[in-house]
């Protein structure tokens, strides 16, 4: 049945031809217009302004800002703190993206099946997503305090030594990664749950008739059917990871011990807001922008060639 209706659809499109396509173009523009106006004013224009800013030397209160060309970009190339922030961001991304996709997918699969207390588990795992990070970080810092934190206190009964990850240059980033995952796994889990709902049940019924195991069902049905969801999850996860700010900023203010958790966006914040060098901040922002854009286009291109 599915096959026959697709043929009908193709024939229909062909019949309407150029006029139909033209009508679709006009309709599409009308559907896109409201969003486009809002984005143009409140996103694209500020982006253009930021590019301009990055080519100037911004001085607090000055009427005219000096044009300095690419000087800010050059400064960044020679700034070891900028490189440190870049590599820390890569470190964060390299762990948070794979784990932040695999764990939520596993949870979504488990919670999409008929399992007792399903609603409770979904709500529990989603709870950190809806909580304010600034406040939950107060809680985490309290719990993880090596001297008076209840977690470290309880662990000490099991022979764990006093442990202060957030104050240790080697462990601060892993601790930030763990808390960032705690905060965000529910997010991708819900996206995957919505994606799983869209997979027709008949596909699984057919597979069960063939006695296909869980593993084979997953790789032959679930994974390919989740393609559109995966594209979304990976693209958004990478964009978000490269722009990580909240977990780092609230758990390890001032860049963490010896700048071990300073990422690109916390570095931007420090340069722009704390030290008033807004044009340098803008230029770092643009390098970040370029990296994320390239990664996104690569992902979309790969998933696109695989489609048809």
């Amino acid at each position: 049945m599915a096959a026959s209706s697709r043929q009908v659809g193709q024939r229909g499109t062909r019949r309407r031809g150029v006029a139909g396509r033209h009508r679709q173009t006009v309709t599409a523009m009308m559907f896109l217009a409201p969003s486009f106006v809002v984005l143009a004013i409140f996103v694209f224009w500020p982006i253009v302004q930021s590019v301009v800013l990055s080519l100037h030397e911004w001085r607090f209160g000055a009427e005219h800002q000096n044009f300095v060309g690419l000087a800010n970009y050059e400064k960044m190339w020679r700034d070891p703190r900028a490189w440190n922030a870049f590599w820390n961001t890569v470190y964060f991304t390299a762990f948070v993206v794979p784990l932040g996709v695999a764990i939520p997918l596993a949870l979504a699969l488990a919670l999409n099946a008929a399992i007792p207390f399903r609603a409770f588990f979904r709500a529990a795992i989603f709870l950190p997503v809806i909580a304010s990070f600034a406040i939950m970080a107060l809680a985490w810092r309290f719990l993880l305090d090596p001297d008076i934190g209840i977690l470290t206190y309880w662990l000490s009964f099991f022979g764990f030594p006093r442990f202060s990850p957030l104050r240790d240059p080697d462990w601060a980033m892993p601790a930030v990664i763990v808390v960032a995952l705690w905060k965000n796994i529910g997010f991708n889990m819900v996206i995957y749950l919505a994606g799983l709902q869209a997979i027709p049940e008949e596909l699984y019924e057919a597979a069960r008739i063939d006695n296909a195991g869980r593993w084979r069902q997953f790789w032959s049905i679930t994974w390919p059917q989740l393609k559109a969801t995966n594209v979304f999850v990976f693209v958004i996860s990478i964009i978000a990871a490269f722009q990580v700010f909240d977990p780092v900023f609230v758990l390890t203010p001032n860049g963490g011990p010896l700048f071990s958790t300073e990422t690109l966006v916390t570095f931007i914040y420090r340069q722009g807001i704390t030290q008033f060098d807004l044009s340098y901040a803008a230029s770092i922002g643009f390098v970040l922008f370029a990296i994320v854009l390239v990664l996104t286009v690569i992902q979309l291109w790969f998933t696109r060639t695989g489609r048809e």
Binding site: R59, F60, G61, A62, R81, R141, D145, P146, D147, I148, R162, S164, L166, R167, D168, P169, P253, N254, G255, P257, L258, F259, R270, I273, T274, Q275, F276, L278
Partner: protein, 408 residues
């Protein structure tokens, strides 16, 4: 469902269209960052002004200090800034050089109740940039050493006779430090997100971060002080490494630390926690008595519609009544030295903090790059040596070089 969406959209839109106008004519806008326990007093003193000056009531906006900087950056750029703003003195050089704030020099007179003679010399110097006054104080904080009397007694020290010199101090710190098993710390030395502690140790030894416009970090006195105190941290575990100010205060509050250097804001919390403690001046180092001073100051927007009312508002904060009220309700010393020994200063804590005002110094005063110097050079230096990542001399020399290029 659809009807509901329509109704809600309509409600949101009509709410958006009937937006309230923020500023009324004649209103004086005042932004500051007094979140936390001092807020009620700040609100009350502001309300007093509004009540006394019904023509220029004050519309106050309180947001956390770091958000306040972000608000100012955006608002001042587009001409929607407040008439008066309260910020930490350290930002003053940047604001003064920006040309966005008013030169107050000619308005600071005894007739206006803004007499510079009433401020300590240190305070006067941080209110000026290039010899001109750009700010007046709201409050003044000094630091004292808090010590836990019970832990002193347990360690065989006299709780009524706290250490007064570095030698006695170090002895007391060693006596109250327990590094085996259940840890206890003799002292807390926070290094970031804190009121500065480490600069006081430099000053005590006759050193400073910046000396006459150049780096002082590789001077022998600086290296000696850093070696002494980081040695105690690394080898004898007198303090945890990498503490924030809030974490240090919590260690003291829970009786895990015997001593800590902090300001008047902690007395209420420690008292409420039932802690048996007292405060004493920071023990005197080889270079003589010294403590840290800090102040929140008021600036006036150059574009204010009503400079006269703004000056009047500044004077209101500097008035005897307002300063005494602040001191008595918050425990901060008055910012006017003529009130330090006033009989109306009834808060005993405020009197103790007021007693050290004459020996208080401001960290990185007048440095428009104070944030780079503190966060990019000094804090990493302290972390490097307290973590034992490099020798004090190497780390100090490297930091000194970095600081030198910042100061050029």
């Amino acid at each position: 469902m659809n009807a509901w969406i329509k109704a809600a959209t309509g409600a949101a839109l009509s709410a958006a269209l009937t937006l309230p106008l923020a500023t009324q004519a004649g209103e004086l806008t005042f932004w500051n960052g007094f979140t936390g326990p001092d807020r009620p007093t700040i609100e009350a003193v502001t309300a007093e002004f509004s009540a006394a000056n019904p023509d220029t009531p004050v519309a106050m906006d309180i947001v956390p200090w770091d958000s306040l900087m972000q608000k100012l950056l955006t608002a001042l750029g587009s001409g929607s800034g407040p008439d008066v703003v309260g910020i930490n003195f350290a930002f003053l050089p940047q604001f003064a050089k920006s040309g966005l704030i008013m030169d107050l020099t000619d308005h600071l007179t005894a007739e206006n109740d803004l007499d510079p003679a009433n401020w300590s010399e240190g305070l006067r110097s941080v209110l000026q940039v290039d010899g001109r006054y750009y700010a007046t104080p709201i409050n003044y904080a000094t630091l004292l050493m808090y010590y836990n009397k019970d832990l002193f007694a347990e360690a065989g020290l006299d709780p009524d006779n706290p250490p007064a010199t570095w030698d006695a101090w170090i002895e007391a710190i060693r006596a109250t430090t327990i590094s085996e098993g259940e840890a206890q710390y003799g002292l807390t030395l926070p290094d970031h997100q804190t009121i500065p502690n480490w600069p006081i140790l430099l000053w005590g030894n006759g050193a400073d971060i910046v000396v006459e416009g150049a780096s002082g970090l590789s001077e022998p006195a600086a290296i000696e002080a850093l070696e002494l105190w980081s040695g105690l941290v690394v080898n004898e575990k007198i303090s945890p490494v990498g503490l924030t100010g809030a974490e240090a205060d919590k260690l003291f509050e829970t009786g895990k630390a015997a001593m800590g250097i902090t300001g008047p804001w902690m007395t209420n919390g420690f008292t409420a926690a039932g802690l048996n403690y007292d405060v004493t001046p920071i023990p005197v180092g080889p270079a003589g008595p010294v403590t840290l001073g800090d102040t929140i100051v008021l600036l006036v927007n150059k574009d204010t519609d009503d400079p006269e009312a703004a000056i009047k508002f500044l004077a209101h904060w500097n008035s005897k009544e307002a300063q005494l009220r602040l001191a008595n309700e918050t425990g901060f010393p008055p910012s006017r030295t003529d009130l330090s020994t006033s009989t109306e200063l009834t808060n005993p804590w405020a009197a103790k903090f007021a007693a050290v005002v004459p020996q208080s110094r401001f960290n990185l005063a007048g440095q428009d790059k104070f944030s780079q110097i503190n966060d990019d050079v000094f804090t990493p230096l302290i972390q490097t040596i307290t973590l034992g990542r490099a020798s004090v001399e190497d780390a100090a020399n490297a930091a000194s070089e970095q600081l030198g290029s910042l100061l050029q």
